[in-house]
Symmetry: C2
């Protein structure tokens, strides 16, 4: 076990003192980087890139060679679990993820296997081990998974959707069946995140990307409770260190208090709420991660600096803030613009600590 | 002037007593109705349908022939204003609205005309007059417009978008220019809604369809303040009756209090907040309209009835509630399912009054 030279991310997630605000960027290893596109092309397909540990490791490290970020996040996809459950994940250019065999019958749901994640998702574990070795303690490595509801939404819908209406209809038409599916997914997500932690993930994030499209009652019953179940089943210490858990439920600002009560260490926030208001509402129960609008990275450098300053000011004085975007960086961003943001946070954030 | 036989909608919007909860459905004249598709095909294009008063009137009346709804809403599009400003609106199958000439330069914005809406949008006024005549006082007719921010987002982006990132970038890069554009749009929207009222619209709704994608500061400065400006410039009485104003800012639940303070009579709500919480937050300042998840209309009849009951229960006892969906009805809905919903609201709502 190598020493961790930069533990700012872990300290901030645990609300411990830091001398500046750590930052990483959702989708920091992604299509806005020409070097990513090169490896992606060499790999032949997005799934091949995920499934080849050397390539996944390489693209995970790419953004860190350009920018002094405070974390790496393992390159993978939130939908690897349904893929190894047998749904056949593939990506169609411009349309996002698709499943060859979406599920919608009771028999299909009851027959879904509980995969042995150490076996079927070996490629993720190998990528994590390899990346940890390459990082050599420079910054922590983050692991992640989709939330049960988010996975279920894609599995029923068969791919991406504006409203996931079929998945939502199942909530009301066949709530018991939906609970069966979500229970299975929660078990596997727990296995999966624990395996990532055991193989070297030093923090984990649960992406509830589609929690925000549910009504409040449906959110509590079909998303929140399975997130709680996962958080309570996670291994919270490894290699003699605490392993912080981040929950990011996009568009779920009405549920911040309940999300803070899941037992997680930090909440990811999108940009539609001010950090000041969020902090007031969750008090000192959790750290906050976010929340610059990704569209700001399309702006001129002065505007990027101004908006970064607004985010830091909105959180205000004190520890427990991890700077990030409020959603993934988009493919049309000039990498130099991310450089402007990173520099701004490095320069401006010490004043808040 | 004919007598209005069913004034439940107007009474509920003004928070006056009613003996049941009135309902109408956003996009009630739309693609889920086979009779609509027939007229749409005859018209040749969506714009032609909007621009031909007899056809617009016909499709406006269609849902009322099937269901005992408490209002008609004039068939039109939120983007008619940018169209007559010269941007050239058309619709591409499966891609939504497109502008032939999107705007993004200072010169283009400064040169945008203030259209004479009675002239250039004569077809809307004629459709309203004709529809009022055909309705013959059976139910009130609602007029509408997009909000300045929502119109600007499409005008800059050139069409629909997942994130309207270019429009958001202009907010930060060229705030003065954006204010120039929004000011022009607010003036024209005010003219447009007043003209609709003068030609017979008995209530008006402002659709801030994309308010919810803004950060809180951007929302207040670039969306909310122009909605306020419009509301304060509207003619609030016509034909001896009050003309209620509904503001529907989708995804803006964090701003309910501020929206209630715009001077409007009612707030439209999407389904991601409970009516109970919304009512607690806005007190008795405004009526509330909504907020069933449109996906529920894909469910079985029992589930539709159950979810309708939940919405009524969430608002609870008392007046000031207009039943509606939390967003437009989707094209894949079986019209009979809407029939189930309408019947349920008719049957169950008297117990709440």
């Amino acid at each position: 076990m190598t020493e961790l030279k930069n533990d700012l991310l872990l300290r901030a997630l645990l609300r411990q003192p830091t001398d500046r605000t750590p930052l990483w960027i959702m989708r920091q290893a992604g299509r806005y980087l020409p070097e990513y596109l090169k490896v992606r092309e060499e790999a032949g397909s997005f799934m091949k890139l995920c499934q080849t540990p050397e390539l996944a490791c390489e693209v995970t490290l790419q953004p860190l060679r350009r920018f002094p970020l405070d974390a790496a996040i393992i390159f993978s996809d939130i939908l690897t679990i349904p893929d190894v459950m047998g749904l056949g994940l593939h990506f169609v250019e411009g349309e996002g993820p698709k499943f060859e065999d979406p599920i919608d019958t009771e028999a299909e749901i009851r027959n879904l296997p509980r995969p042995d994640v150490n076996e079927s998702l070996r490629y993720v574990m190998d990528a994590i081990k390899l990346t940890r070795r390459e990082l050599d303690g420079s910054v922590p490595l983050i692991g992640f998974s989709g939330s049960p509801w988010t996975l279920a939404a894609y599995m029923i819908q068969g791919g991406s959707s504006k409203d996931f209406a079929s998945a939502k209809a199942m909530i009301h038409d066949e709530p018991h069946l939906m609970h069966t599916l979500l229970g299975k997914l929660a078990d596997t997500v727990t296995d999966y995140l624990n395996a990532q932690i055991e193989h070297g993930a030093q923090a984990v994030q649960i992406f509830d990307s589609w929690g925000g499209i549910l009504s409040p009652e449906a959110f509590r019953e079909f998303s929140l409770r399975y997130i709680e179940q996962i958080v309570s089943g996670l291994r919270r210490e490894h290699e003699g260190r605490q392993v912080p858990v981040i929950v990011f439920s996009k568009g779920s600002n009405t549920h911040l208090e309940a999300l803070a009560d899941t037992g997680c260490n930090a909440l990811g926030l999108d940009w539609t709420i001010s950090l000041q208001e969020a902090r007031r509402r969750v008090g000192d129960r959790v750290a906050l991660q976010g929340n610059l609008d990704p569209a700001v990275l399309l702006c001129k450098p002065e505007a990027i600096r101004q908006q970064a300053s607004n985010v830091l000011n909105s959180y205000g004085q004190g520890d427990g803030h991890v700077f990030n975007l409020g959603h993934g960086i988009t493919p049309n961003v000039d990498p130099d613009h991310l450089g402007v943001l990173v520099k701004a946070v490095w320069e401006m954030s010490p004043a808040f600590h």
